[in-house]
Each structure stands twice: as structure tokens, then as C-alpha cells.
């Protein structure tokens, strides 16, 4: 598939728009359907498309397997860490009200932070699973 000019150019054009759409789904999740989980999956879809057209090795140079594995853990830590920060600020675990000067803004920041944690974890996990499935056959 690597010789197909239309596919190569098409994938290259589409990928940044898919990434932008993922970010839109994430940051607009407060107002419209979507959120961290869906955004993470859409973000992975951009890289899956690139793997299908350009091959696993080329994409892994941009997005190394160790990086996506770290992402899977960092997202969970970001989520749990948000809870610890709110505890240190004197509220309950994951009680976002204290994150800003007034509770409503605090809730906004808190939701954005934990959704970012979900996004990073889902992105890292899906990419890790995909790398393992796609890379296993060719090493033998």
C-alpha cells in the first residue's frame, strides 16, 4: 500500500484534521457530546491511519512505543493526582470546588484535568494494544 500516491497524500492531509477533531471533542466535551474517552480513541485513529498507509516502523519513529506506554500510566496518575491536589487544598478527594477562586471555575478546571487524564490513558492504551498486535507478526 506504500506505493499508492492517492492514499499517501490523502492520509497525510487527513491526519492533522483528525487530531484537531479529537482536541475539539475533548475541549468541547462540556458543551456537546464527547469527552476524554472519545477524544483519545479519535486521536489513536489518526495514527492507525498513518500506520496502515506508511507502515509501522515509520510511525513508531514519530510515536515511539515507550512513549505511548508512558502515556497510559501518566493519564491515570494525572487523574489520581488531581484528587490528591484537591485534598491538599482542603477539600474531599476529587472535590474540584477548591481548584479556583470560585467553585464553578474550580469544577471547570477539575473536569478538564481529569478528562485530560482519561484522554492520555485511552490514547496510550489503545496505541499500545495496536502496536503489539500490528508488530507481532512481522518479527518472526
Amino acid at each position: 500500500m506504500r506505493e499508492e500516491l492517492v492514499l499517501r497524500v490523502g492520509a497525510k492531509v487527513l491526519a492533522p484534521f483528525i487530531v484537531a477533531f479529537a482536541l475539539y471533542v475533548h475541549f468541547h466535551g462540556d458543551y456537546s457530546p464527547g469527552g476524554g474517552f472519545q477524544a483519545g480513541v479519535i486521536l489513536v485513529a489518526a495514527f492507525v491511519l498513518l500506520v496502515l498507509v506508511y507502515g509501522l516502523e515509520a510511525v513508531q519513529q514519530v510515536l515511539p512505543p515507550r512513549f505511548v506506554q508512558a502515556c497510559a500510566a501518566v493519564g491515570v496518575l494525572l487523574y489520581a493526582g488531581t484528587g490528591i491536589v484537591t485534598m491538599l487544598l482542603g477539600a474531599n478527594y476529587l472535590g474540584y470546588n477548591v481548584l479556583a477562586h470560585d467553585p464553578e471555575h474550580g469544577q471547570h478546571y477539575g473536569i478538564l484535568l481529569v478528562e485530560a487524564g482519561v484522554l492520555i490513558t485511552v490514547f496510550g492504551v489503545m496505541a499500545t494494544i495496536f502496536y503489539h498486535l500490528a508488530g507481532r507478526g512481522r518479527s518472526e
Binding site: 462540556d30 497510559a72 474540584y96 464553578e104 481529569v114 478528562e115 487524564g117 498486535l133 507478526g137
Partner: protein, 192 residues
């Protein structure tokens, strides 16, 4: 109109499910599974559960299909013929029929579908719908419930997703990397 859409979607779902069971070509099965997810997403949209529909379309129809195709590349795309054919399988049929009958019997105790007086709409749902805008300041109630009111649950789910990656890495990763030790240069030259 909505009833007609429901009937069409459910009929297509049933037809896809029968196709999934009967077809032996696993490539076609994976495609049908994606179609099944997309039809479910349509059904969720009819039920006004757009967040769920979004997830189903992205995960079920999108990423799952790609992951299944990746697995098919490893195991081949023909399903083996069943070892015992032609004979009526009495025991499995009985198990399926009895379980199905028990499930149908169970639905008789459920409250009527879509009734506003159902208990599920009157515990915390009222509070979420009325107070979200004052307490959280977010128009999308689903996001508010997911990330704030039910933040613990979502954290647990994120951890489960993380555990899935750890499981896949343990099952597929370790052995392959050890074996790859000598073969890595070969796979690199193959890509040139």
C-alpha cells in the same frame, strides 16, 4: 417515525447477528461486527444517548475493527469447521432455550420501558438535571455526572483501561521482544 426507525434498526441488528454466527470467513465477521456496532450507535442516537452513541461508533465500529483485523493477520481468516456436524445438539439447545426463557421471565418484573415514573428517574437523576448548571456550570449533564459527580467511578474505569494495556503487554509483549532480539535488524531491512 421513531417507532419505524427502531423497528428497522432492531431488524438489521438481528439480521447482522445471525450473519455473524453463520459466516465462517472471519474477515467478513469482523466487518459485520463493525456494522453491528454502527447500528447500535444509531439505536443509541434514537434513544437520545448521543454520548454513548459517540463512544460506540468510535470504539466499537472504529478501533475494535482495526484491532480485530490486526489479530486476524496473526491467526488467519478462515474459521475451522465444527468437529461435530449434522447431529442435533440437544444439551446446548436446551441450555440456550432455558436461559432465554429465564431472561424473558425476568423482564416481566422490570418497570415499563420509558415511563417517567420509573425509580431510575427519581433517585439522583432529578438532582443532576436540576442542579448541574448551578453546581458545576457545565451545560452537558453527561460530562458533569461522568467527571464530577461520579468522578470515582470514572477513575476506576480509567484504571481498568490501563490494566487492559498491561495485560496485552504481558501476554503479547514480553515473549515477542525476547525473540526479536536477533531478528530486529531483519525486520528493519524489510521495511526499506
Amino acid at each position: 417515525m421513531e417507532t419505524a426507525t427502531d423497528i428497522v434498526l432492531l431488524a438489521l441488528l438481528a439480521a447482522t447477528a445471525v450473519g455473524l454466527v453463520r459466516i465462517r470467513n472471519l474477515f467478513a465477521v469482523v466487518m459485520l461486527a463493525g456494522i453491528y456496532s454502527l447500528l447500535s450507535a444509531g439505536l443509541f442516537t434514537v434513544l437520545d444517548a448521543v454520548d454513548v452513541a459517540f463512544t460506540e461508533a468510535a470504539v466499537g465500529a472504529g478501533i475494535s475493527t482495526v484491532l480485530f483485523l490486526g489479530a486476524l493477520a496473526l491467526v488467519g481468516h478462515r474459521e475451522k469447521k465444527p468437529t461435530r456436524t449434522g447431529r442435533m445438539q440437544v444439551l446446548p439447545l436446551a441450555v440456550v432455550l432455558i436461559t432465554g426463557a429465564a431472561l424473558v421471565y425476568g423482564t416481566m418484573d422490570l418497570p415499563p420501558f420509558g415511563d417517567a415514573a420509573n425509580p431510575v428517574h427519581h433517585r439522583v437523576a432529578d438532582h443532576y438535571l436540576e442542579e448541574t448548571y448551578h453546581e458545576i456550570g457545565v451545560p452537558n449533564v453527561v460530562t458533569a455526572v461522568l467527571a464530577s459527580y461520579r468522578g470515582y467511578d470514572t477513575m476506576g474505569e480509567t484504571t481498568v483501561v490501563f490494566a487492559a494495556a498491561v495485560g496485552v503487554m504481558l501476554l503479547l509483549g514480553g515473549g515477542a521482544r525476547r525473540r526479536r532480539g536477533g531478528a530486529a535488524p531483519a525486520s528493519e531491512s524489510e521495511s526499506e
